[in-house]
Symmetry: C2
Subunit: 310 residues, 2 copies
């Protein structure tokens, strides 16, 4: 059983109550706690030494990344983050100066995004540092954007450029909070999520939640310079397009919108966010799974993010 | 720098915002998110293999304990738990059946206490299982009980019996949710917290928050049978009274109330919760720190929970 199968198994029948608007399976849980005009967003996310960062990662960037990942999920619901708790598990011989710098990086991003840090916990994890963030946010009632709303005919958009995040971006990415809120304030966004596992895997989650398929236009997918450089660097490297689909940790927005709004959106976006690329990469179709269209035709994308040329 | 010094250092100047009623330093954070009659409680807590449980611990009890610890903190604020997220970090070769049973134990307690599990995360921790719970609760506005409200002359109470938790209770304790709510509905409770580190250490936190001291009557401290048995089992074992002050993981309530209400409370408690002991263990005094009074006089309790007979 892999991680995704385990999650599916564990989330099959979870205890629920009248506060739950959206439970497990989206970027955040959505709760109705009785705030007159708002719903509550609730999210946790962990980073682990040796997996999401290394002993050589600057500690400020570790703290920043830990919080930024959670912020990205609040963004993906078009929400506003408000309050976080920080759980940090440390080896017994922790370096207090290093831990302080982790918090400095985390606190700086919290200040910038208006998030209060209201405590948390330190505990022991003998072999490596692990940081888990719990984040509460809010979203105006009815304005939360879920994964499950994609409609056949929708245009599929992504922000920024994809792939090659490990070179640098995974430590420095900007959670797309303002962009997501602007999108929902000015357009009818049908479905949205953030890209954490790579377009190939994450789009599949969105499609499954919406019970539709997608056709991606290969030349339309925005590939990062880092992914292109890496592909060129050695003959054994991932092709840049595959990197854009599978590298993960892009932390860009993936969303769908009625095709008729696509051109208007692109124009308005360019005026509002001139420095951040917005790309229409394909469309929602009937069926399931992902088709990659290039000049040779349409090819089914398999579960590993590689194109199967049948 | 030990864990407590680190926490003090890290929580000195945390980012805040207008939602924060109580930040770091109490059993839960207290937030005002605009629910007309309620405040929001927010808490995280982690359990780690080899520290809070072992490979031999029945997995259902691991999951139960992970959630129960957080519930105990919601109880300590006189709140009602509503929603939890579960972060579980697993070695790569995890046993899916074992993990499922962890969730079974956790879900059973969630059902029982009305808590919805709205997702969470699985991640990798190669050497050991770590489970972090993030919990949201609510409390009627103005009814939250903090650590900082103890007043000189207050009677100090604890529920249950203390010490020896490791023998069994740390896996089976009942979070005192109903008891804490009943207390605040029927009496003016000045300060409250749950006992996780032992009466010696935890009372000190409450005293420091309230800027007062305490005098504990040694014979009044309720000592668990497990602590007494363990003390008798070997000549090198902790004396039972020291165990009651320092073992930790009691997960009982510690609270203070005006002395004039003490007898009325004891009578009402006996009628309402006949199976759960409630003990008046001493009183709040001016100054700081903890004095232990026995037939030989008053002795200052040092930071390690041992009595210093000067």
């Amino acid at each position: 059983m892999n991680e995704f199968e385990l999650i599916t198994h564990l989330t099959k029948s979870l205890p629920t109550n009248e506060n739950v608007v959206v439970g497990a399976g989206d970027d955040c849980a959505v709760l109705d706690l009785g705030v007159p005009e708002k719903l509550i967003l609730f999210k946790t996310d962990a980073v682990v030494e040796g997996i999401h960062f290394t002993k050589a990662t600057p500690p400020e960037k570790i703290g920043r990344k830990a919080l930024a990942r959670c912020l990205s999920d609040i963004g993906a619901m078009a929400g506003t983050p408000t309050t976080a708790l920080v759980t940090i598990a440390l080896p017994k011989d922790f370096d207090a100066a290093f831990v302080t710098k982790i918090y400095d990086g985390l606190n700086a991003l919290a200040e910038k995004t208006g998030v209060a840090i209201v405590g948390g916990e330190t505990t022991t994890n003998p072999e490596r540092i692990l940081i888990s963030i719990a984040l509460i946010g809010t979203v105006p009632r009815g304005k939360q954007i879920l994964r499950r709303g994609a409609k056949i005919g929708d245009a599929i958009f992504v922000t920024g450029e994809l792939g090659g995040s490990l070179a640098e971006k995974h430590l420095d990415f900007e959670p797309r909070l303002a962009e997501a809120r602007w999108l929902t304030e000015h357009f009818t966004i049908h479905s949205m999520m953030d890209l954490s596992d790579g377009l190939g895997g994450d789009l599949r989650h969105l499609l499954n939640a919406s019970k539709v398929g997608a056709e991606i236009l290969k030349p339309a997918v925005p590939i990062s310079r880092a992914a292109k450089l890496r592909a060129k660097a050695s003959s054994g490297a991932k092709p840049a397009f595959v990197a854009a689909l599978t590298d993960g940790e892009d932390f860009e927005l993936l969303f769908t919108i009625a095709s008729k709004d696509a051109v208007k959106l692109l124009d308005a976006w360019k005026a509002k966010f001139p420095k951040l690329k917005l790309s229409c990469v394909g469309k929602i179709v009937a069926g399931d799974g992902i088709l990659i269209r290039d000049k040779t035709g349409s090819h089914k994308l398999n579960a590993n993010g590689y194109v199967h040329f049948a």
